[in-house]
Every structure is written in structure tokens, then in C-alpha cells.
């Protein structure tokens, strides 16, 4: 494969032949990133986005996990400042963590490309909420593309790079679970984009230093750019008109488009590929060209609100279809205005902690000791379900510590003494470290107990490495954050490392003694995840051999 100034990516004959593949949306994004010479992919694992960086790395790209999404975004911003192409991936809630840099990088004139993948999870297959991140594009003023299958995931990634470089803005690639994880046929090399710039640095204070004096004009510049992009989107954006009956017109985007084509093959359809800034004039003309125009979108009434604000008369789906994913059956119901209650699916078997999972021992003990457990997100969240029912809260990653401290500060002493914060190793690195600092800085009168469940991996999302494992995304040896040293260096005096699976009695005694202390304690329950243990041993063996 090579680049040409005029044609962009050129595939040789063999590659051309291999160019048809059955890929997930995640894999297609990775392939496009690779084909377009993305310099660095950063991110933090999160279903359904995780496979993008893993695939990018397998293809030969450089990819790395950051401690959290905010850091991943910042590293990617730096890459884009150099003129190179950057890809940063995260699940929808990850963008909350990265929202701070997002809102300001929107003002900054980029030299390279910055593609931000937000993988939303309508229906919450594996998430704590179903927020609709199209709202972020609007709120931050970041152009957004929404692929509806893997072919578009491939092409829209390339287009996003083009748009990012042409207007010097970041671009949001908004995916959803069904686009990320469905496999559909992809033809590679269908689109040519220019090769990346060669990285270099030039001072440009007003463009990159967002002090108020420079941010004020930068904000005006952003709005002007967005108006230009909106005009371009009306003229030449990646939107598609399917001419059908003039009695029914449907405006749609993303995966909803596929359900629409299935449910209403005869309807006229305006499929929007770029959903911020919107091609409002095309939408207006389309709505005027049909007798009834309805917007079919998954999640929030984002397109409907925008259309109506612009004075375009469109029908909306009934509120009940805001919840959960759409499918062709639901689209048919929406078109028929059917608001009768839907058939409830037969409940399947819920997931449970693996037999022999070290988290089981921890919950057994916390339950026996009658603890109030401020919990967190990971495999160990399953401690809320029977037989344990031993986790009392889950808000967002890292919240275990703050929530536990808040409970300690406010509960009557007898109850406060029973509060324990519990989070996993990857979660601790992601956003627990600042919580630990808070614990040292504002200790509750009754002290506090933090248990870090160190199973040597990010199990929940499929066994990714993190800074506490001392291995990079591709499992090579690197710097390692030692939790016990970190806690001690912050001034926590009672720091213990223990294997919760070795001696349950000993583990129970330790937790009990910490609860009794009225001081700050950090207990690191260290035992490899059962499913990851073999690979971990294998990585360590390989890395040791290389060190020899």
C-alpha cells in the first residue's frame, strides 16, 4: 500500500483482491485509520468502542491505552497540534470524562486531524446510562458524522479526517452499539484522501493558547467555520436521498436508517451522514416534498428538535421509543403511531461472577461484616446481584471513593464506621487516584477503608492492560504504577496487600481491623482474574525472556 498526492491511498493488486471483508464497525474504523496514516490512536477501554484500538494495533498502527479518556483526548490533541493525524476512542460516558478538553479544543485551530470516536450504547447493553452524545456535538460545536454500517464506518472515518484537516477542527465520529459490533461487508480503498502532513511545530499563540484574549476571537471563528461547514453539508455533505413515495418521507441517521429501509422500503428517505452542523435546507426541501415527514432516530429527539427549531414541520416518534434501541419492528410501530405496550422479552440468564473469581471472596467478607459498600464499575459490579447483594452504590467510574467519604462524613457514627469504598484496579487508575487524594486531604472523623480489587487486568471490557499492570496495549513491558507505593507516598499509613482467595479468614480479620481503626486504610486485594491469569503469566514470561 502507498500514498499518492492526487489519489491518496493506493492499494496494490493483491490488496485490491482482498479488499472485500466482513468487518465490525469498530474494525472498519481501525482499518480506515490505518489506511489514512493515523500517527497515534489513544483511548480508554469501554464497550462498544474497545476493539477499535485493539484492531488498529493488530493492523500495524500505533495505539495506546491512557489512564482515562481525558488524558487520551489530551494526548490526541497534542498529536493534532503537530500536524499529524490522531484518533481517540471511548464509550459514550468516556466523553463526559473528556468533556473538558473537548469544549476548548473546539476553539483551537488544528494543524493535523483529530477524530474523536464516541461509541454510544442505546439500550444499555453494557453501560450505566444511555446518554445520547449527539448533544455533545451541538453543545461543544464539534462537527459530527454518524455511520450506519461498517462500510460507512470505514468511509466516514476517512471523511472525518478530510473535514478535520480542511476546516482545522476536531470531528466527532458518533457510533452506536449496533454499528460498532455488527459485522457487515466492507470494501476497502473506496475513497481517496490526501496523505498526512509531516509533523512539525510552529508557534501560534492565538490559535492554541486559550486565554480569554485569544479565546474570544477563537469562539467567533468557530461559529463562522461551523456556518461554512453547514453550507457545505447542505451542498455536498455525506447525506443520501432515496426517492420513494411522495406520501411518506423519513429523515433518519445512523443505525435507524437500516431499520427504516427494512420497515418502510417504499418511503422516501433522507439519510443524514453528517448530523452536526445539520443540512437544514436539504431537510426543509425534503420535508416540503412529501405529504408526511417523520423523523426516525434512536435515543433523544435530537434531529426533531433541530428541525422544529428551524421551522421545519416534522412528526416525531412517541416518547416511549426514546428508551432502548430501535429495530425494524419498533420503526413500524412508530410509523403507525402505535403506542400500545410492547411485548416484554423473556428474561435471559443474567451474567454472574465467574466461579472462582477473586471478587467473590471480597463480597462474601464485606457482606458477613455488614459493610455499607460504596461500589464502582467493573466485573465486581455483579456483587450487587444475589447471592452477594453486597454493593450499595454505582454512579460512575471512580465514584466509590468520593461517595464512600460522603457517607462517612454524614452518617451517624455507628453506620459511618461500616462504610467501605470498593473499586477495581483499572478503575482506580482511571479516576480513583484523585479520590484517594481527597481521602487524605479531607479524612472523615471515623477514618475510611478503601479496598482496591487488583485482578491485574481490565476484565469487564475484555482484559485490557492499564498502567497498574506495567504492560502496554500490546502487552509489552513498560512503567508500572505500584498502588501500595502510591498510597503510602500520599501519607496513608495503613496500607496492606493481601490475596483474598488464599485465606478468607485472614482477609476478613484484616478488613475488620481496618474498620475498627478510625484511621485511613487502603487494602489492595491482589489476585489475578481467573480468565486472564494464563495470558498474564504468558506475557510476563515473554517480557522476562526479552529482558534477559
Amino acid at each position: 500500500m502507498q500514498y499518492s498526492e492526487t489519489k491518496g491511498v493506493i492499494l496494490d493488486d493483491l490488496e485490491q483482491k482482498q479488499a472485500l471483508a466482513l468487518l465490525s464497525g469498530d474494525e472498519a474504523v481501525a482499518m480506515a485509520a490505518f489506511d489514512s496514516g493515523v500517527t497515534l490512536g489513544t483511548g480508554y477501554p469501554g464497550t462498544p468502542s474497545t476493539e477499535i484500538l485493539e484492531t488498529f494495533e493488530t493492523l500495524g498502527g500505533k495505539a495506546q491505552w491512557s489512564p482515562n479518556e481525558k488524558v487520551a483526548m489530551e494526548v490526541a490533541i497534542g498529536v493534532a497540534f503537530s500536524g499529524a493525524r490522531a484518533l481517540v476512542t471511548m464509550k459514550h460516558v468516556g466523553l463526559n470524562v473528556a468533556a473538558d478538553p473537548l469544549f476548548t479544543v473546539a476553539y483551537i485551530r488544528l494543524d493535523g486531524a483529530l477524530i474523536i470516536v464516541s461509541a454510544d450504547d442505546p439500550g444499555m447493553a453494557s453501560s450505566q446510562n444511555e446518554q445520547d452524545n449527539r448533544r455533545y456535538a451541538l453543545a461543544a460545536g464539534v462537527p459530527m458524522l454518524e455511520p450506519s454500517d461498517s462500510q460507512e464506518a470505514y468511509e466516514f472515518t476517512l471523511r472525518a479526517i478530510e473535514i478535520s484537516e480542511r476546516w482545522q477542527v476536531p470531528v466527532l465520529l458518533r457510533m452506536t452499539t449496533r454499528v460498532c459490533h455488527s459485522k457487515t461487508v466492507v470494501r476497502r480503498g473506496t475513497m481517496a484522501i490526501p496523505p498526512p502532513h509531516s509533523p512539525h511545530f510552529e508557534h501560534d499563540f492565538p490559535s492554541r493558547v486559550m486565554i480569554p484574549a485569544y479565546a474570544k476571537p477563537a469562539h467567533r471563528r468557530l461559529r463562522k467555520t461551523l456556518a461554512e461547514i453547514a453550507a457545505w453539508n447542505d451542498e455536498a455533505g455525506p447525506n443520501e436521498l432515496i426517492k420513494g413515495s411522495s406520501s411518506l418521507g423519513i429523515i433518519t441517521s445512523g443505525i435507524a436508517f437500516q431499520h427504516v429501509r427494512e420497515a418502510a422500503p417504499q418511503a422516501s428517505v433522507l439519510k443524514l451522514g453528517m448530523t452536526y452542523p445539520l443540512p437544514l435546507e436539504r431537510m426543509r426541501a425534503f420535508a416540503a416534498s412529501v405529504e408526511r415527514c417523520i423523523v426516525i432516530e434512536e435515543g433523544d429527539p435530537y434531529l426533531v428538535e433541530a428541525a422544529r427549531t428551524a421551522g421545519i414541520a416534522v412528526d416525531a416518534k412517541p416518547e416511549m421509543y426514546r428508551f432502548g434501541e430501535l429495530n425494524s419492528t419498533r420503526v413500524r410501530r412508530i410509523l403507525n403511531g402505535d403506542i400500545s405496550s410492547e411485548a416484554k422479552p423473556v428474561p435471559g440468564k443474567p451474567p454472574a461472577l465467574c466461579p472462582g473469581c477473586p471478587h467473590r471472596n471480597v463480597y462474601t467478607v464485606l457482606k458477613d461484616l455488614g459493610c455499607i459498600v460504596a461500589g464502582d464499575i467493573g466485573c465486581y459490579s455483579l456483587g450487587v446481584l444475589p447471592p452477594f447483594q453486597a454493593m450499595d452504590s454505582l454512579v460512575c467510574m471512580g465514584a466509590a471513593i468520593g461517595v464512600g467519604l460522603g457517607l462517612r462524613h454524614s452518617l451517624p457514627p455507628a453506620e459511618a464506621r461500616r462504610v467501605v469504598s470498593v473499586l477495581g484496579d483499572s478503575t482506580f487508575v482511571h479516576s480513583g487516584i484523585t479520590g484517594l487524594v481527597e481521602m487524605v486531604y479531607n479524612p472523615p472523623e471515623s477514618g475510611h477503608v478503601l479496598v482496591i480489587l487488583d485482578n491485574g487486568t481490565t476484565a469487564m471490557t475484555g482484559m485490557q492492560e492499564h498502567p497498574g499492570t506495567g504492560r502496554t496495549l500490546n502487552h509489552a513491558q513498560t512503567g508500572k504504577v505500584i498502588f501500595e507505593d502510591l498510597a503510602r507516598s500520599l501519607g496513608v499509613r495503613n496500607v496492606y496487600v493481601i490475596d483474598p482467595a488464599q485465606d478468607l479468614g485472614k482477609f476478613q480479620d484484616l478488613i475488620q481491623s481496618c474498620l475498627d481503626k478510625k484511621e485511613l486504610s487502603v487494602v489492595i486485594a491482589r489476585r489475578d482474574c481467573l480468565l486472564a491469569a494464563r495470558s498474564i503469566r504468558e506475557y510476563e514470561r515473554c517480557n522476562e525472556q526479552q529482558a534477559d
Binding site: 459490533h181 459485522k183 457487515t184 429501509r261 429495530n327 425494524s328 419492528t329 423473556v346 440468564k349 451474567p351
Partner: protein, 169 residues
């Protein structure tokens, strides 16, 4: 007007090879030059919860999800997951489940997913070689023998079943 796609739902529990089976089926259909879409929800599957995967193929496929009550085939690896997924099957669609296989004849019990694909293969138009090739592409070398055996057992069982149904008719 496009002809309707073939709809297959594969279901079971985390760790039973539901996704692997759907990967193999999708690969066979893809290699035959058909449009294919395959979709499932994964995330927490390693903890033994319910898993199901939709595979659709034909001239042109839009939604990656098999619409409720429109599955032509429902292939269930864990018998207790039949009621959970029954609503997927269309009237007159075929249920394929482990009761149709003599599990004791499998050289590796874990290949039951592939054995059920063998049963399914009887109902589809793809040549046997396409299945064998897809099995080999999607499984590590050391599992090839056990799975090729499982596939043949399933395919043979599928045939007897077809004959039985034929006699009843």
C-alpha cells in the same frame, strides 16, 4: 424488489461459542458472495449470561437485527435458552438444538456449537467445502479435527432428521 434475506438466530450462554458459531456462518455466506450482516450484544458474556447472535444473508440486507418472529432458523446451544429465544422464530421456522445430536459421539463436547452448524448446513444451499473452509479459517489449528468431526456428526444428524420429516409428510 429484493428477495428476503435468510434469518438465523444463534443463542446460548457465555462461553458456549455462540459468537464463534455465528462468525463461521457469516463467513460461509460472505464467501458465497452474499450480502451479510451479523449482530450481537457482547460485553459481559464471559460470566455465563444469555448470549444471542443474529446472522442475516441474502441479496441485500438492511437491519443487522433479525426482526422478532422472523427467524428462519433458531439454533440454541443451551436447552434452557430455548424459551428465552423462542419468540425469534417465525411460524414454520426450524429449531435446531442439542437434542438432535448424540453428544456422546463428539470427540470434544465443546464443539456442540459446530455440530449444530452441521445440522443447519443441511437446510442451507452452501457446499460442504465452504463450511470446512470457514471452520478452518475461524478456529485455531489444534481444534480443527474435533470441529470437523463435530460438523460431520451434525450434518449426518441433520440428514436423518430430514428423512424422518420427509417420511412423516
Amino acid at each position: 424488489m429484493n428477495s428476503k434475506p435468510t434469518n438465523v438466530v444463534i443463542a446460548g450462554l457465555g462461553g458456549q461459542g455462540v459468537i464463534k458459531a455465528s462468525d463461521i456462518l457469516a463467513d460461509v455466506a460472505f464467501s458465497a458472495g452474499l450480502d451479510v450482516k451479523k449482530s450481537e450484544l457482547h460485553g459481559m458474556s464471559q460470566r455465563g449470561g444469555s448470549v444471542s447472535s443474529d446472522v442475516r444473508f441474502g441479496e441485500r440486507v438492511f437491519s443487522p437485527m433479525v426482526p422478532e418472529g422472523e427467524a428462519d432458523f433458531l439454533l440454541v446451544i443451551a436447552p434452557d435458552q430455548i424459551p428465552v429465544n423462542a419468540a425469534a422464530l417465525r411460524l414454520g421456522g426450524s429449531l435446531i438444538d442439542p437434542s438432535q445430536i448424540d453428544e456422546s459421539s463428539l470427540s470434544n463436547k465443546k464443539s456442540i456449537n459446530v455440530a449444530l452448524l452441521g445440522v443447519l448446513s443441511r437446510h442451507l444451499q452452501f457446499p460442504v467445502e465452504a463450511w470446512t473452509a470457514a471452520l478452518e479459517r475461524n478456529l485455531p489449528q489444534k481444534l480443527h479435527d474435533a470441529n470437523l468431526q463435530a460438523f460431520s456428526i451434525g450434518r449426518a444428524a441433520g440428514q436423518t432428521l430430514e428423512q424422518k420429516i420427509g417420511q412423516k409428510r
